[in-house]
């Protein structure tokens, strides 16, 4: 492994305030719940204190969004488009600041926040800006739903905000968004950006808090649309909560994707794809390729190459530009990854990690793979949401399909083979919303994303993403 001198990105670009309020009706206001701290997961240092929205605060936000709805939905689409273009441009202008803040609050490597998250965030606003005045051509009508209540996770804080807010606004809805409790800061900076863009007050409202705040958003009777990204468990609760109401719901939930490698696959490319599939963003990715299905005849060769590659991954300071693997987002998530990994060992799978020094402070977990995993093992069934790969084998394409689909989830899948007809044969049979063939974890605003089965319903991105925010 080459030695590199540290190359930290400066955090001077970020102007952190000691405390942040809620963003309601265009103003930052106090929250009536108990304020909470958000920490840098790489150091456990407190970054800021953040207001917690009570049910009353959520009610205020929903009323502000309702009040703003008439004006916003009444604007010509071309005017809404220009607001979104403005936002996209300001995001590009402040991209580095947002990337550093994202890495500070989330723990993801700056290389990812800078080169993946932020470019996609801006692109998403550009993409849906362009739809705002072309809805009549999309096939879902042009009537917005009203107030959208949106609850997003901590793994891609600003990107998930973009996936939710951009199509909602393009279609003429107004928004009450709740960021994740552990990663509220980029959403609050987005609030400031919406002010710079002179977005009319109330069109976007941001209420910070934990699960209770999210539940209040979902259950509010004046919310017409619920959009949620997060765990399948919470997704079920939300589906129950909105039952019997007129609310439209889209859910983007968990996954346990199979990444399938055939014996004719280019091994080096497949190894890169496997690494990107499960170690990108510390494995905090709902569509992560967390189950490696490798054809038996190339298992040894592939695993040797994979282990060699894992030995070169650099874990450490998320702000260091050389870092491949950053911090686990929270102590709670770290505990979950640890306990599931222990279950892997106790159920009989073999655990392996490269030699990897973990920093003393902060939340860290080394890249880990398990071999000898059976389909019945907990680590083959449950979403770990961490840098942990379970390796299983198969002999025939039919067996690969059978094993890949043997999960209640259906968000994504990967296929590695040089044979074109086999790719299409596999892609047709994999019950998953996204199939990456000879690639993995690629995202684009023009490309619909979302799950089959218990990975949720509805699509985000592309033309299909409009359907979620229109009264079809």
């Amino acid at each position: 492994m080459f030695e590199y001198a540290p190359a930290p990105e400066s955090r001077e670009i970020v102007d952190l305030r000691p405390s942040y309020g809620l963003f309601i009706d265009g103003e930052f206001t106090e929250g009536s719940g108990p304020a909470f701290k958000t920490v840098n997961p790489a150091t456990e240092e407190t970054l800021a204190e953040v207001a917690c929205a009570s049910a009353d605060d959520v009610d205020r936000a929903v009323r502000a969004a309702r009040k703003a709805f008439g004006g916003w939905s009444g604007l010509p689409g071309s005017e809404r488009a220009k607001y979104l273009f403005r936002i996209a441009r300001i995001i590009q202008e402040r991209a580095r600041e947002l990337a550093v803040l994202e890495s500070l609050d989330n723990g993801k490597p700056i290389r990812e926040s800078r080169d993946v998250d932020l470019p996609l965030v801006a692109a998403h606003f550009f993409y849906y800006a362009g739809w705002a005045d072309k809805l009549q051509y999309a096939g879902f009508g042009t009537k917005p739903l009203g107030v959208a209540g949106q609850v997003i996770p901590w793994n891609f804080p600003l990107l998930m905000l973009a996936w939710k807010v951009a199509p909602a606004l393009a279609c003429g809805n107004t928004v009450v968004l709740k960021p994740a409790e552990t990663t509220p800061l980029t959403a609050l900076l987005f609030a400031e950006i919406s002010r710079q863009a002179e977005l009319p007050p109330g069109v976007v409202n941001i209420v910070t808090g934990a699960g209770e705040t999210g539940a209040a958003v979902v259950a509010h009777p004046e919310v017409d649309k619920v959009a949620f990204t997060g765990s399948t468990e919470v997704g079920r609760l939300i589906a129950r909560t909105v039952a019997g109401t007129g609310k439209k719901v889209t859910l983007e939930l968990g996954g346990k994707a199979a990444n399938i490698v055939f014996d004719d696959a280019p091994i080096d490319q497949a190894v890169e794809g496997i690494v990107n599939g499960i170690f990108f963003n510390q494995g905090h990715v709902c569509c992560a390729g967390s189950r490696l299905l490798v054809q038996e005849s190339v298992q040894e060769e592939l695993l040797a190459a994979l282990k060699r590659r894992l030995g070169t991954l650099r874990l450490g300071d998320p702000l260091d530009k050389n870092t491949d693997i950053g911090a686990i987002n929270s102590a709670e998530q770290l505990a979950r990854i640890r306990s599931l990994s222990e279950a892997g060992e106790s159920e009989g799978a073999e655990r392996w990690s490269p030699a990897c020094e973990l920093p003393e402070r902060g939340f860290w977990f080394p890249p880990t793979l398990f071999t000898g995993v059976a389909q019945s093992h907990t680590i083959a069934r449950e979403e770990i949401f961490g840098p942990v790969l379970s390796v299983l084998t198969f002999r025939t394409p039919a067996e690969a399909v059978e094993k890949a689909n043997n999960t209640p989830y259906g968000l994504s899948a990967g296929v590695w083979t040089e044979k074109g007809s086999r790719i299409l044969w596999m892609a047709e049979r994999l019950r998953a919303g996204v199939v990456w063939a000879n690639t993995f974890n690629k995202f684009d605003p023009a490309s619909p994303f979302g799950g089959y089965k218990e990975s949720g319903y509805g699509r985000e991105g592309g033309l299909h993403g409009l359907e979620a925010y229109l009264d079809v």
């Binding site: 990456w436 023009a446 619909p448 299909h464």
Partner: protein
């Protein structure tokens, strides 16, 4: 001397066969005037589960059939229905002219949906111009096993909810209109003689309130169409049960529903998943 008619026994339609309810139960079906028409099978939880098993078993074959083949079979269903025009008109509890018009509309609806089999992907799929060297295509695929509660309109309503679900490759279990189930069973006879593989459509007759919650809670059902549920409490309970495995839910349509209106695409698209496939470009 007038001849005594041979009456038909109205049974269930599960996996391509016509069994009685395993429960041995039946209920009397009457005309709008209250005259006895027939005893229909009163399906049980076990019948509902058998129907789901049949629908699941039929799914790989039906969803894997070519769109052209599915279209041909739906068109064949329309042909067979046309041939039963007079018989079905007598089972709708309407005046003769109105009944014939309703059967005609059902036939026409089948023909309309039959044509969608190889066109829905063209209007609901997309080629996605992503910012990178990748081929990227989104195509619709059937959701899986769909449980349907059919609306009161015994034939046109039934056809209007079943056809859009199966034309795209889903299989289904349908609970027929509770007061007027006879046309649904005769329609099942039409399906049984149309080369539709057994299990693609399974028809249960009986109590909506008894059957719908079992189907809503069934973990091997992927989607739930509550169109025909008239009781708000029952609809609420079913939607809550459906959350258990995150079924796609179509909420009830308020009666009186106009089944002669242009159906649009939503009854098809609600039971479709979008699959997006990426592949790098290169030499």
């Amino acid at each position: 001397m007038s001849r005594l008619a041979v009456r038909k026994t109205y049974k269930l339609f599960i996996g391509g066969a016509f069994p009685r309810s395993e429960s041995g139960r039946s209920y009397a079906v009457t005309s709008p005037d209250g005259d006895f028409l027939a005893n229909a099978a009163r399906a049980s939880r076990k019948d509902a589960r058998d129907a789901v098993v049949a629908a699941r078993k039929a799914f790989p074959g039906w969803s894997g059939a070519t769109a052209y083949n599915r279209g041909q079979i739906l068109y064949r269903v329309a042909e067979m229905l046309e041939g039963r025009r007079a018989q079905l008109a007598g089972e709708l509890g309407l005046g003769r002219a109105e009944a014939l018009a309703s059967v005609d509309a059902a036939v026409d609806r089948l023909v309309w949906y039959a044509g969608w089999s190889d066109k829905i992907a063209a209007v609901h799929g997309t080629a996605n111009p992503v910012a990178g060297p990748y081929f990227n295509l989104s195509s619709p695929e059937p959701t899986g096993v769909v449980a349907l509660v059919a609306p009161a309109d015994p034939l046109l309503g039934l056809v209007s909810v079943v056809a859009p679900v199966i034309v795209t490759g889903n299989t289904c279990v349908v609970v027929a209109s509770e007061p007027s189930p006879l046309a649904a069973i005769t329609f099942a006879e039409v399906l049984a003689t149309s080369d539709l593989p057994g299990g693609v459509v399974n028809v249960l007759t009986g109590r909506q309130a008894e059957l719908a919650p079992w189907l809503a809670a069934h973990m091997d059902v992927n989607a739930l169409d509550l169109t025909g549920v008239t009781d708000a409490d029952l609809a609420l309970r079913c939607e809550q049960e459906a959350a258990g495995n995150l079924k796609r839910v179509l909420r009830p349509v308020p009666e009186p529903a106009d089944w002669t209106a242009d159906p649009g695409l939503t009854r098809m698209t609600r039971f479709l998943e979008t699959k997006t496939v990426w592949h790098p470009l290169g030499v």
